[in-house]
Symmetry: C2
Subunit: 478 residues, 2 copies
């Protein structure tokens, strides 16, 4: 027995072609009149905006603009809509999968001059910022008030970009991702309308969750201009430490027990032996070159001490240790600086090589198996690829270091990434835990979500951006 519905979702995309030279000329002239020298068309600036931390070739936009307000962004989008010219929102250019490149040309909207912190509500633990504010700028501003914003993707990304890619990072195990920490957004939609998605209330059931629809949409459904964020009080006490393990399995076991026992660990990061070698070189540390967990605890003085002691016991039970922990701010900073510099530390393992980002996330019960298989695959593929992972969430990155001029090596690297993603999906995981889809992950989406879910995503995109002017060529297959 099988019936047919009266209609079916279509998986068709709206084709996007590079705009005509006439359209670009018309839009550029109008933008120059509107923005004066905040419209830039020099090749150098366009190329700066056409290539971020990615191994995709440069794809420059036709022009770059620097708006100062949501209303200006709205006018820019209306103009581009009228002329069918692509509009690409740009934060700090630290995305990793070709999110902000302009494969169809168009106008890059650089948000770096929208940097106002519009409000900080200490009693409500929230703030309202413009999209161009970076996470470090925000935390600098908040420090005096005893508040902080926890999401920490490593790079000093803009809050707008972090929302657009659903970013997370080392603190997500305790504080969640951007999905969990954005209360509301102001966004400019494809028709130029200015939408406020929610209020400052901590929770709501008032209709469709437009906030979460835009978070992670990578500028393809709307351009985020203002963000209302949850904040947290700076913990009374913080302690951090490092713990060596004899194997990835042992480190993952310790992670699982830590999470399962409800220990509210703020960070729990795995670095494999190869990555530790890079960290030792780059950050001049003398860590044992084996699998390590970097951990951090937030709480009261007594609470942090209790957490650290219990973690030490868990680590020992799993065959790891000794757990070396530090409550001094300088020691902690040095440790986490080294963790955050892992990207550069990895690159120091093969000077001159290009770095390729990967980003799978699996249920934590499968993590050890996934990492071990991946390490074997790296060895068999003849690649150098250190591993770092936000293991409390089951998320890890390998970072193959490749010579882009060597087609054989590039083919081996691509084959490795395809197998890595396939492995993660087979274990119930995702092709991207926190980097986003951009251009390079598009081909994995159907395998991850299935054709019906992908058709729903295409339906949403066609409904909200029928002319396909918002960051075309990203997230969804064209």
């Amino acid at each position: 027995m099988s019936s047919s519905a009266a209609f079916a979702y279509s998986s068709a995309s709206v084709a996007s072609l590079p705009p005509s030279a006439e359209a670009i000329a018309a839009v550029t002239a109008a933008l120059a009149a509107m923005l004066g020298n905040r419209l830039v068309t020099s090749l150098a600036v366009r190329q700066q905006h056409g290539h971020t931390l990615t191994w995709i070739p440069n794809q420059p936009p036709d022009a770059v603009v620097y708006p100062h307000s949501t209303e200006e962004v709205s006018e820019i989008v209306k103009l581009c809509s009228a002329h069918r010219v692509p509009v690409i929102a740009f934060g700090t250019g630290t995305s990793l999968e070709g999110h902000v490149n302009a494969p169809y040309g168009g106008v890059c909207v650089d948000m770096s001059q929208m940097k106002r912190i519009l409000a900080v509500h200490g009693e409500d633990l929230d703030c309202v910022v413009e999209a161009g504010v970076t996470r470090k700028e925000l935390n600098e501003h908040l420090r005096d008030q005893g508040l902080f914003f926890p999401i920490d993707p490593g790079a000093d990304a803009s809050i707008g970009g972090m929302a657009a890619t659903r970013a997370s990072g080392t603190n997500a195990v305790r504080y969640g991702t951007m999905k969990d920490n954005v209360l509301a957004l102001t966004a400019v939609m494809a028709d130029g309308s200015i939408v406020r998605t929610s209020t400052r209330a901590r929770k709501t059931s008032a209709g469709y969750d437009l906030t979460r629809l835009l978070v992670g949409s990578e500028g393809t459904l709307g351009i985020i201009t203002e963000i209302t964020l949850k904040l947290h009080g700076i913990p009374e006490a913080i302690s951090a430490g490092v713990c060596p393990f004899p194997s990835v399995q042992a480190a993952c076991d310790a992670t699982i027990v830590t999470i399962q026992s409800g220990l509210p660990v703020a960070r729990i990061e795995l670095l494999d032996d190869v990555m530790i070698r890079g960290v030792n070189i780059y950050s001049k540390l003398g860590l044992p070159e084996t699998t390590m967990l970097f951990v951090e605890f937030h709480g009261s003085e007594a609470g942090v001490k209790e957490q650290a002691e219990r973690f030490g016991e868990i680590a020992a039970d799993c065959g790891g240790g000794p757990f070396d922990w530090a409550t001094k701010a300088e020691d902690r900073s040095k440790l986490w600086q080294a963790r955050h510099d892992a990207y550069w530390a990895a690159r120091s393992l093969r000077p001159g090589a290009e770095s390729v980002a990967t980003d799978v996330c699996v249920p934590i019960s499968r993590l050890a198996e996934c990492v071990e298989e991946t390490k074997r695959d790296i060895a068999e593929s003849g690649l150098i690829a250190p591993i770092a992972g936000h293991v409390g969430d089951g998320n890890f990155h390998t970072q193959p270091l490749v010579d882009q001029a060597d087609p054989d090596e590039m083919a081996r690297c691509q084959g490795f990434i395809d197998r890595l993603v396939k492995r993660a999906l087979a274990m119930g995981g995702t092709c991207t835990g926190e980097h986003g889809v951009g251009q390079k992950k598009i081909k994995y989406l159907e395998a991850e979500h299935g054709a019906p879910a992908l058709a729903v995503m295409q339906t949403l995109k066609r409904a909200l951006d029928p002319l396909n002017i918002l960051n075309p060529g990203k997230i969804l297959p064209m």
Copy 2:
């Protein structure tokens, strides 16, 4: 200067008319062939499904079906789509704003026979359940494994219904709402397609967040059939207590300081003097009839003790106390049973009267002011309306007890609710923190979200349900 985009979102809705008698007859005959005695058309059963805990008159569907699988739900939706017959998903019927009434008739899909717990993954702290499993059934099943599912809206609601209304309740201050605790969904969309929205990975940036689009969509975008939920380990220690305060302001001040200082309180509930009177009557307690906070702490033995002591200090600093706390399970159960019975306790204040639900949520800094103004408004309106609130989130409910046969009293009650919502919106809040929109909150959505956001919601609805067969007449204006 103002440009015009090439298109604009329309706020038009798709009109829905009651289906023709022929369409109903055709669908009913086909469903009878498919489901046998799992199709019911008796008036008593239809009326049971046309009137839940709401003061909206009964609006029965034309038929009620009891599917056993996602595939059956898909066939039902395809059939209804082919004949343009409304489809209304039904959980336990504990929603409060007319969510499951059938104003346009159609087929009610009662999920109560989809009750399988499909998987519990202890190491990953997640599980997969069918939509008809209730939260108490799930927790009963999990208890032996040392796990629990924290979301607790009071009623023993179905997990599917809780996801559909973005429910929360007393534990949300610590564990979040359904938005935060659903990892993935299986849903049947308006074209009958079966969509799996995400994986079991703890986080992902792989495309649009279909999970959060469906959570809170009240059956208007898809019918949720399976849910993957985050779980938590049962805390090693739990303690709970009650604390009297001289005023709402003092209780709210204590709440703000508690949250701000990062005390990980699991529950913090305000009951006003009127509600306490009802609780004393209904639950045979002898609490002082003043504003009270009910609190609960989860953690290690030492952690819980530390939290309770600090809360006691904070309460005293704010003029409250003495804080009376209990670690014995029986005492805790009695206390929280009384809190959960507040709905019935309130009704005991005016036997025979109807109870009306309200559900605003404001930034916590405005909570005391909002509650105090609301209490004055209750007095001036000549209503009996006790107050209970999940004050850690800024969410509170007043519960006017009215004689529905008295038009003057009903008019006063409606006027009071309109002012309550307006007051919350003016303070940066929402018209519904956790109950959802259903039918009764539709009229407030434009004031809350603005016309552009409402047009986006209408655009999403038209795109995903172009025939408007999924729970028509709910959430969005027709």
